[in-house]
């Protein structure tokens, strides 16, 4: 007799597996502000990116297994460029990209042995903050239409609680950045599994990008080097005692010299 496992059990096992793995991933924050949409996540690597450009006004953010979300990122760029080439640049929308990801992740969840251990966000800046669109797509292909901010990864509830408390409409870039850093630091305190025991945030340990409403054509850009140092020192005025944060604020010049410049 062949070994039988009910579909319910298979789906439940896969979902439990994915949830458990994602719960162990450090959080990332996507937050809307007056001038666009800001992406902040701890990421010690300068080569393996969590945030990237999909199209003119659309960006991609992901946490989880790098090879899996990198695969999705490339698929999204291909989907967007093909749509834009077949029709017109304005016909590429975040909703279309999010739907595409829902289809892909849904198919992978159903058809393969192991679901993708990822959580992704597709964000598009509009003409005003009211027109911004943020979608969160999870490992099983479900899509959530979010407003103002979204948290990916483990401790999402904890980080989101801080964001919910501190978020307000029409924040500047510096204010939004400060709120995001505050929320992310709340999750790493004393959580060995998620934060790897680290409770500090230095500029070199952060990946920060933004969809800048004020730019023409392609709005995605990364914040690195001196600009990031300046933002970080502004965001953490009263926290000089907490390890690497103090280093970053007291020696901004040094860090800026060696850091990668904005591309």
């Amino acid at each position: 007799m062949p070994f039988y496992v009910s579909p319910e059990q298979v789906m439940k096992d896969k979902a439990d597996y994915a949830r458990k793995r994602i719960a162990g991933i450090r959080s990332g924050v996507v937050i809307a502000f007056e001038g666009g949409i800001l992406f902040v996540a701890p990421n010690p690597s300068r080569a393996l990116r969590k945030f990237s450009e999909i199209y003119d006004r659309i960006a991609f953010a992901a946490v989880g297994r790098y090879n899996e979300f990198e695969n999705l990122r490339k698929a999204g760029v291909r989907y967007a460029d093909l749509t834009g080439f077949s029709y017109d640049r304005q016909d590429v929308t975040a909703r279309g990209v999010a739907n595409y990801y829902a289809q892909v992740l849904g198919a992978i969840f159903t058809d393969s042995q192991k679901p993708y251990e990822v959580e992704i966000v597709v964000a598009e800046v509009g003409k005003t903050q009211d027109d911004d669109e943020i979608y969160r797509i999870t490992f099983d292909g479900s899509v959530a239409d979010e407003r103002n901010f979204v948290v990916m990864g483990g401790q999402a509830d904890q980080v989101a609680a801080v964001l919910k408390d501190q978020y307000r409409d029409g924040m500047t870039l510096a204010e939004a950045f400060a709120v995001a850093i505050g929320a992310l630091s709340s999750s790493v305190k004393g959580d060995g599994e998620a934060g790897g025991g680290r409770s500090e945030i230095a500029a070199t340990q952060l990946e920060v990008a933004l969809l800048d409403r004020g730019r023409p054509h392609r709005l995605f850009r990364r914040l690195t080097g001196a600009r990031l140092e300046a933002l970080l020192s502004g965001a953490l005025p009263g926290k000089k005692e907490t390890g690497a944060i103090a280093d970053a604020t007291t020696e901004p010049g040094e860090g800026a010299e060696s850091a990668e410049s904005t591309d």
Binding site: N71, V77, R78, D111, S112
Partner: protein, 305 residues
Amino acid sequence: MGADSYGRGAFGPFLGAGTSSFTDFLATAAPELMPGTAGAATAVTPADGAAPGSFARGLTHGTTIVAAACDGGVVMAGDRRATAGNMIAQRHLDKVFRSDDFSAIGISGVAGTGIELARLFQVELEHYEKLEGHALSLDGKANRLASMVRGNIGAAMQGLVVVPLFCGYDEDAGFGRIFSYDVAGGRYEEHRFYAIGSGSVFARGSLKKLYRDGMSADDTALACMQALYDAADDDSATGGPDVSRRIYPVVATITADGYERLTDEQAGAYAQTVIEGRLTDPDGPPAPLHQAGTPNGGRNALPSG
């Protein structure tokens, strides 16, 4: 389904490591969208015994493009006329396109195929940049364009001939460079200046007399405007500045600050300067007959690295 078939099927070409070239991806995912394939696949031979490719004569053709290196960059300019046989098909066609932040592509030949080629090339460069996280080198862009022109050879044999001119600011080298192509995809680096299209012979002759090494972007733009005026003077398919309609050649400069297309007012000002000069000197500014100063007038040196 095994591990090998993650989401394949409908998503096949999209997922996986794949290629960073949009053209290669397009050839797999949507081959019908490749420029030139329609011409190559359906042999467009006229039924009435006319020569192959004769139908293409009735299609809209773009004409003259010039490019010249300037101090710290390069200038590209193109007239606005498109012809179909002996008719003027368009008075305000754009044939100079921004291909990315530091390069431009101008096209001459069958406009439909050329504009599609330029559009595909734009996506090609942006696609690579997004997938790889950094832009192609200028040589890489030039080579990529060569293979795309070569891909059009089937259509070119049917008469859908298109030849681009490519120029850009080389961020590594710190100066502007110009590349010309032939129908077979041959890629040739040009020094100082070059022109393509029906009026190119006259434009090149004009630039030969007007061009000086190390000219400012401003002077180079004026020299390109003079060259296009000379091309329009002797080639019926090249359009001169259209003062009554306020349609002027497209002029773009590419420097370390990136690609910038001059506004109609700015291009119009150069055109106005040329036109006013021609009112007294119809053949344009004369070059000195005897070379003064340096042995060769300081004009024949290749740009030094």
